[in-house]
Symmetry: C2
Subunit: 502 residues, 2 copies
């Protein structure tokens, strides 16, 4: 017995559901795989066991037209075959995001994608009402990417158990955990009783529902597959269990077009893992993800070697010794897109990484943008019930959101895929000009000139707009030629956009 | 005929004035030198020609007691001898500033000196009324060091001729110079007619009057001997003229206890000079300044090698690629005091280095302080008559001054000579503790926690004060022991001072 749909739109999930054996431990005792084929595409991929005797094989088609499939389960000699049609992508479906123009991103259909991401580490592990609130907040369009974890998280302000666990078993007692017991990483607790060979399908089902919700909202799901904020031992499993986990995660999630892979958050803090482990996971990922979704790994203090060929883009946390000002060096060093996913968070908790102002959060986004890179948002305001966006989602309490939506608007009005810095004006302002003379975006950040002098040439007209990035206004100052001065309000956070008039 | 005083206080200027020959060119045709001796000190030093047949030899005694002197002029066979008494230093005279505790400064009498400097490049070249205004402003005590140039300056907002020139001759025409002719460095103009072998003593006399005024106000005079902002050819003289200039400057100014030597401002921009030239000037300085006043040289983009043994402290201008965050590396690299004399200026001119807010100016001072280093102030507000503090002095229009005086107060209340950073709290705040447990200063900068948790030990009491560095308040929060939380106002620019109670 098996099921599938007669048609699917390009870059959506086509799934074959097969009833098979449920005896023993189907997660390791049996396997399932599928081959999906059209005149122009052939994908062979693993499926996974979803509990209750149900196996699934998922496929994301990249081409329109007629397909056939053949699915094989090790639990049976039967071959499950069929055919289906891949229809054109609907209006808001642009395919997975790829690297474009060396330092930038575009959807597979060529539409530029300018990441303006946020972080809600374990929003999918919260009660459903809170998850719904998060989605409502996300629907405001402040962000087009969100980073979150498959595993639950143990950390400051975050001691409650998740709604589901990824494995069968029972967790250690969490009563009595509070700020005084804070630790990023609690050593393996013998109270934890898990069977690392038996996944809890409910955990993954709920999780992928949210991947789908995000996809339908046009939001990329930057999945953090491993992390160190752990009291359950999920960061200390043996290699065999790790690899089983990686294969399971890839088989379940890879067919969602909006998935990005982040191997880890703060990889160096996952203390039991060696560099060889990370490279092994990367190897599994490269081999098993047929769609080559974007891949990176996130640092605490030390950068992973982003020159590794499997890494599609650098995913960076700033540190005192790794300040934003050095970003141009990283860009040249890696020649890949740079996403500064952690630039400190808007909020007022006690940690220095979680108490900057909204103004500073937005400034950092503009600075990275003008350096030809991308930023990441997070919010950490104290909350009476310890519901902090950065960890739990819920409601945003800060002021950066609408400004980041405004930044997206400015980016989407750019004439090319991505903005690249050029050397004009040096310290006066970071400056962007993709094509000399035709388009320029200047940003003044925390500096606040009373005017700015320009002189490009005597032959062309230039249209000048003054942008207040905080108050979200765009003021047309008219057309200029030759040498000209643009008055500015001696206020911080101003930008100027200059377009050559044809 | 010669003159001298019967007594002088320690670290003041003792001067022997001699009438000699005025024929030919006394600046090069004749020389004068003196030997000053007591039971414990012997200084041999060059004098200089001051015009009108007057020669002077100056001496700064470092020891109290009875001295004799012998002065020799090449213009005569006569030997000028005499004796004088060195009396104790008066209350506000602590001697010259020296390096102390590796990274810090103290006056020669051991009093800690925490530089909080400003920059007024050519305030002594302005009309006397404006100079008086500058002194009035300086008398408010916002700064205890000021950087300024011996040579006049040509630069944006600064095209007027100085009140005097350092040489006999006539300058090129300055009419018609304005923003459109801006250039840091104008190539030698044939209109300039100077005799680089004949100083204008009036120029140096007026200049040293101001060194003396500053000394009497307790302000260090950080003299910039060479610089590139030139339309007169003073930055393009030949080696012989350069060396004559250096010898003259040293002979005139070295006996003032408040003198610091800055070989150049933005040394790389003085294009006609090679590294060998700078090292030669340094050699002259080390040989001819008997008092070994502090010596440094200031960068544009590239640091001079501050490891050079003649350099007593690094004098640094920040750049995008040389941000404040890297200061701890420089400190370790050079193992000398770090003075970040240019951290951008409070103001609103068009240049990115001259339009930060007062808040940001003050924040940068606190940041460098908490990194165990020292900052520099400058102010560049647009002015209807182009009188900008950074260049001309005059009145301050900004808001950082009183806050920098407040910072000096905090520094002067430190228990040791200098504050050194320690690793506690990492990104949360730079932190200072000279002696573990006994004294701590934390600064939160642009971060704004709602509280901060502390736990040092269970045995000692700690007195906690919350400092608002912007509003200049110090609030005593009482005595704490063990684990304790300190509430903070979720506002930027706060600091905490913690002292162990004996």
């Amino acid at each position: 017995m098996f099921q599938y749909a007669a048609s699917v739109e390009k870059w959506d999930v086509f799934e074959v559901t097969v009833s098979g054996r449920a005896d023993g431990n189907p997660f390791v005792d049996y396997s399932i795989r599928g081959v999906f084929q059209s005149a122009q595409e052939r994908v062979e991929t693993d499926g996974f066991y979803d509990g209750d005797g149900i196996y699934r094989v998922r496929f994301m088609p990249s081409i329109e037209g007629d397909y056939t499939f053949r699915v094989f389960g090790s639990f049976s000699d039967e071959e499950y075959t069929g055919n289906f049609t891949v229809t054109p992508a609907s209006a808001n479906n642009h395919g997975p995001v790829r690297v474009a123009n060396t330092f930038h991103f575009a959807y597979e259909d060529g539409t530029p994608y300018y990441p303006v991401g946020t972080t809600c580490y374990v929003w999918t592990h919260q009660p459903q009402e809170l998850q719904e609130k998060t989605l409502e907040e996300l629907s405001k369009g402040y962000f087009n990417k969100i980073r979150f974890c498959v595993f639950p998280k143990h950390y400051d302000y975050n001691f409650r158990d998740p709604i589901t666990f990824p494995y069968e078993g029972t967790p250690c007692d969490n009563s009595g955990l509070n700020r005084d017991n804070f630790g990023t990483y609690l050593p393996s607790n013998p109270e934890n009783k898990w069977d690392f060979k038996r996944f809890n399908p409910e955990h993954f089902r709920l999780f992928e529902n949210r991947i789908r919700d995000l996809r339908d909202m046009g939001i990329e799901a930057d999945l953090i597959i491993m992390h160190p904020y752990d009291r359950w031992g999920f960061s200390e499993m043996d290699a065999e269990s790790d690899d089983l986990y990686w294969n399971y995660v890839i088989a379940r999630f890879a067919a969602y077009r909006n998935v990005w892979w982040s191997l880890a958050n703060e990889f160096e803090f996952v203390r039991k893992k060696t560099m060889a482990d990370w490279e092994r996971y990367a190897h599994i990922l490269c081999k098993k993800d047929p769609y080559h979704h974007l891949r990176s790994i996130h640092n605490a203090f030390n950068f992973y070697d982003y020159n590794k060929p499997w890494i599609t883009h650098a995913c960076i946390q700033l540190q005192d010794k790794k300040p934003l000002e050095l970003l141009p060096d990283w860009r040249e060093m890696y020649r890949k897109p740079i996403v500064v996913d952690e630039m400190r968070y808007e909020g007022n908790i006690e940690h220095g990484w979680g108490n900057i102002t909204a103004e500073e959060m937005v400034r950092r986004f503009w600075e990275v943008t003008l350096m030809g890179a991308y930023g990441g948002h997070g919010e950490t305001y104290m909350h009476p019930d310890n519901i902090l966006w950065w960890s739990h989602g819920g409601e945003l309490h800060g002021e950066s959101g609408p400004r980041l939506k405004f930044l997206q608007q400015i980016l989407n009005e750019s004439p090319y895929i991505g903005l690249d810095p050029c050397g004009e004006y040096l310290t006066a302002a970071s400056k962007v000009a993709f094509a000399p003379n035709t388009y320029r975006l200047l940003y003044f950040g925390y500096t606040r000139p009373s005017y700015k002098r320009f002189y490009y040439d005597d032959e062309h007209d230039y249209q000048v707009e003054v942008i207040d990035t905080w108050n979200m206004t765009i003021e047309n100052r008219g057309i200029f030629r030759g040498r000209f001065d643009i008055d500015l309000p001696s206020r911080q956070y101003m930008a100027i956009r200059i377009k050559m008039v044809d």
